[in-house]
Amino acid sequence: MTKSALDDIRVLDLAGESGVYCTKLLADLGADVIRIEPPDGDPLRDIGPFWGDERNPERSLQFLHNNTNKRSITLDITKPEGKALFEKLVATADVVVETFQPGYLDSLGLGYAALTKIKPDIILTSITGFGQDGPHANYAWSDIVGVAMSGMMNLAGEKEDPPNRPYGNQSYICGSIDGAAGSMMALYHRDLTGEGQHIDVSMQEAMIINQETARLTWDMTGRIAQRTGARGLIPIDLPGIGIFNAKDGQIFAYLGTPGGARWTTMVDWMEREGLAEDLKEGENLEMVQSLDLAFLSSLVREPDKLPARIKVLSHMRQVFERFIANFDKWYIYEEAQKQRLMIGIVSTPEDLAKNPQLEHRKWYQDVDHGDGHKVRLAGPPYRLSATPWRIHTRAPLPGEHNTEIFTELNVASSDIDKLQSAGVI
């Protein structure tokens, strides 16, 4: 078997929802990640959707996705016997990832300073809403709090609606990505110097750069960017820019941007399909030949010239809308891209599942979940030629590796039984 980048690394995974993607990233690069679940049930196993559409702690799709390649033990680290076992594990570990309220591990006697007494070069990675210090360090958080406080949420949605939260717990995702990168950076340093350290990720901070230019616009010009909805900053509906309805769904078009084909290419295509109407005539043709992003910017700069152009522009838009409505979204997407027209399909989950590019690249991973059942999981975020990303094992059942791991720690099997009946494991 080829090597993995982290096959000599052990990670103890105490992460809740905010950091469970971080430990997945490490596990899929080959680390031995031991997920530590509370004996009365890991709350992540309660989060739907569920495989089979029925609540079942062994079938949370969130859990199955985020815990590939990990081993699971159940352990109550708040009980003295549990804490002692955890400390034994720390002695064998390289990285601990946690998402508790800052100070909580300290209160158990398991904070960074205490861990270094057990394992001097340990790396502790903490992923929290606001980081380990500062006036909001003890604020409660969930995904929407990180997104809102970063300034990102202020930018999405229609003016008449509440600001939109981006789908998919993005502040957990960004916090986890930064947590994994920080853990890897700390490992590199440890390999060089033998020194461990504490990595502090704030979800709010992790999200701020996603504001794009809004933060800099304030900093440099004193203007506050607000959500602008489907039209963006452009005051009128433009041809070939925005969301359009195909026969069976939607496409997103951004024609006229640098690097892409021009409107003339678009109209040639429309003509080949017999749907160009009158766009090759008179003032329409003139507009087709001049319309690009630079031309649009000049319209915004010289609004007095806009009214004269609006009639032609909205006619072009209507012809474009009629053209798109004639075809399936996949046809539009693939045909447009072949001609370097900047159009993307608005994918639904079904479209993602059936995407021919992902299919060709064998991206999805069919992972055996026992009894001959395979579950189709998301594939690699990156492909490394010498130390490949890999899913070798499905997500664990609760405490599936108790015996295996506690035996590794030289706990006698009679003691394992005792700890179980005491509710420690």
Partner: protein, 432 residues
Amino acid sequence: MTKQVLEGIKVADFSWFGAGPICAENLGRYGATVVRVESEAHLDGLRSVAPFAMQPCPACEGKCCKECLNAGRVTKTGYNVSGYFNNYNANKYGVTINLSTEMGKEIARKLIAWCDVFITNQTNRMVDRWAFGFDELKKINPNIIAAYQPMQGFDGPHKDFFGFGAVLNAITGYNHLSGFPNRPPMGIGTNYPDYVINPGHTLIAILAALRHRKKTGEGQCVELAQIESVVSTLGPVVMDYNANGNNQIRKGNRLSYASPHGAFRCADIEWEKQPMDRWVAFGIFNDDQWRALVEAMDSPAWASDAKFATFDARKQNEDDLEANITDWTRDKAPHDAMALLQSKGIPAGVVQNARDVHEDEHIKARDYLEYLDHPETGVMAYDGSPFKMSKTPGKLTTPAPTIGQHNEYVCKDLLNMTDDEIAEALIEQALY
């Protein structure tokens, strides 16, 4: 000063726009020597995108206040005044190499021989044109780590499909899944995957490759197909289709396992003589938090209605629930509402705008933003470290290079070119 983690690691940054440059900037932030390659013949588009630094106003003698910034002053012009570009290119040396000249290609090869890590987010077509494929690079530098960020990967029927972050938002499902169901899938406001998802995943992969190289001496190829990097973060929703046939659609700000969950309107403020709407966001994930919310609201009569007594009941009556809560938030300042809810242990945050983020006491206390003085923009605030390291903190020390700022330094000091060679490269417009 303590030694930085990546001190001694050399990075040749042949990328542009967001996803590549941000990754390379983060390598530089933790100590790597990064050379950013550009060309006036193939300009990074971000150099031409706002916001731009403003002309100093005579009244303030160059030290402008926010008020006068809006008084009709004009922006500076040229390639070096875009905050958008600068923010992703601090801690880098800037060199302009015209890759359509033979001599430019020769200088690029020297840089490839010099570096440990090569990174690009150019399309497969440009990578081929410039002979930057992994096999080509290995001939020049056998142990190189080369990271590529093609939109759809190196191969397959869509390998030459193109776009930028906004198109990727559509293709990967973010647009279909974000926002309110009665609205078209308009997207999430920015070219989102360019800023953390793709540069962050690439950084992880490069660090994995560096670790392997340190152990074995062997380099490798990192291929981050941007579509795959993004969809990998959306695993469960695709699994729900594959396993159950559920084809989910956007549900606004609601969440299946919390209720209420969303943004609630607070008191409007006036900004630039217009009303500006303000919002507080929070979610209630369990009955303890629900009781805390009722208490925070001073136990209004509606809250004891059976309609809201349990999680399932609240889910069923979510429209009414949200309307009732808005009655309570509507006359409050958002920061007051957040502080009150937080004092009861409820996860709550203001929907902050860019100004709020700059003035956020917590962000200030943690020194997240880093202020660097740039010769043409003056002092501007750069995004800070993605993670804080207790022993080896990252730091931005030099602002983004002006175009071609370090041509001589890079050629002479890093690539050991002679003065004559450099002069010839200038005359031949290879350093352009």
